[in-house]
Symmetry: C2
Subunit: 121 residues, 2 copies
DNA sequence: GGAACAAGTGAGTACATGTTCATATGAATA
DNA sequence: TATTCATATGAACATGTACTCACTTGTTCC
């Protein structure tokens, strides 16, 4: 989380300055890198993957999701909060139930792309 | 990591059986869900995101990467091992240096797609 | 061979994170 | 109003993980 303030991490003469300069120019800003890590990290959990995939197949309430996954509704609820905060899912209240749906078309695409990777490897 | 063996997690009558059945049929297998979580988890770290992005701009040795990121070469090396194991990057040895490149076109695409999400959010 | 150095790795540590358990909230129903 | 139940949430706990530090390996150059 904290990085050294001086950049001469490589003590002596190993740097390929041309490459380093070129890459440094095109590097992601901190916010972008952080944002990417955040969204990918959110997708990087088995439970959340399965929740999102289930929701990609249709609207479900918390209880439905926990039945599909075989997980407690508490665990599911905790994960849904993260997904809600990140605006990946959307909640709709109806009586005692809260129905969730995907709230991000990008997620669907990321999923598809990720699956391609997984399946062909 | 361990899930309850009985599926009547929702004690009484909240299930919407039609929805649950439909979704259950289309659900990801365990291996697929695990595989997805694994690849996304790998992308879900600030340091690894920056390493991969740097490599997407050109081939770099470990020392170059640590200079670009402002991280120790040990930290970078540890992360590169994970990326190498997952076949996301490829190593080429040349004298004392080891040069790394991206080894997966999917990653490039996932990156692009993720960035879209982050930028427009 | 010996010095210098890039890279890899194991152990230890600090911190993040996912789950469970207990409890709270809020809506329907008796 | 009291009960029941779906959902949410806080605390505690256990596990995972990213870093540092010390050390090893393997290569180049003297």
């Amino acid at each position: 989380m904290n990085k050294p303030t001086n950049l001469d991490v490589c003590e002596k003469q190993c740097l390929h300055l041309d490459r380093v300069e070129r890459v440094r120019g095109g590097m992601l800003g901190d916010e972008a890198a952080e944002g990417l890590a955040e969204i990918f990290g959110l997708l990087g959990d088995r439970t959340r993957v399965r929740i999102l995939h289930a929701l990609s197949l249709g609207e479900l309430c918390v209880c439905d999701i926990s039945a599909v996954l075989g997980a407690t509704s508490s665990a599911v609820s905790h994960q849904l909060r993260l997904l809600r905060t990140a605006k990946l899912v959307k909640a709709r209240k109806e009586g005692k139930n809260v129905f969730y749906t995907l709230d991000d078309e990008h997620v669907r695409q990321l999923f598809a792309q990720g699956l391609e990777h997984v399946l062909e490897r």
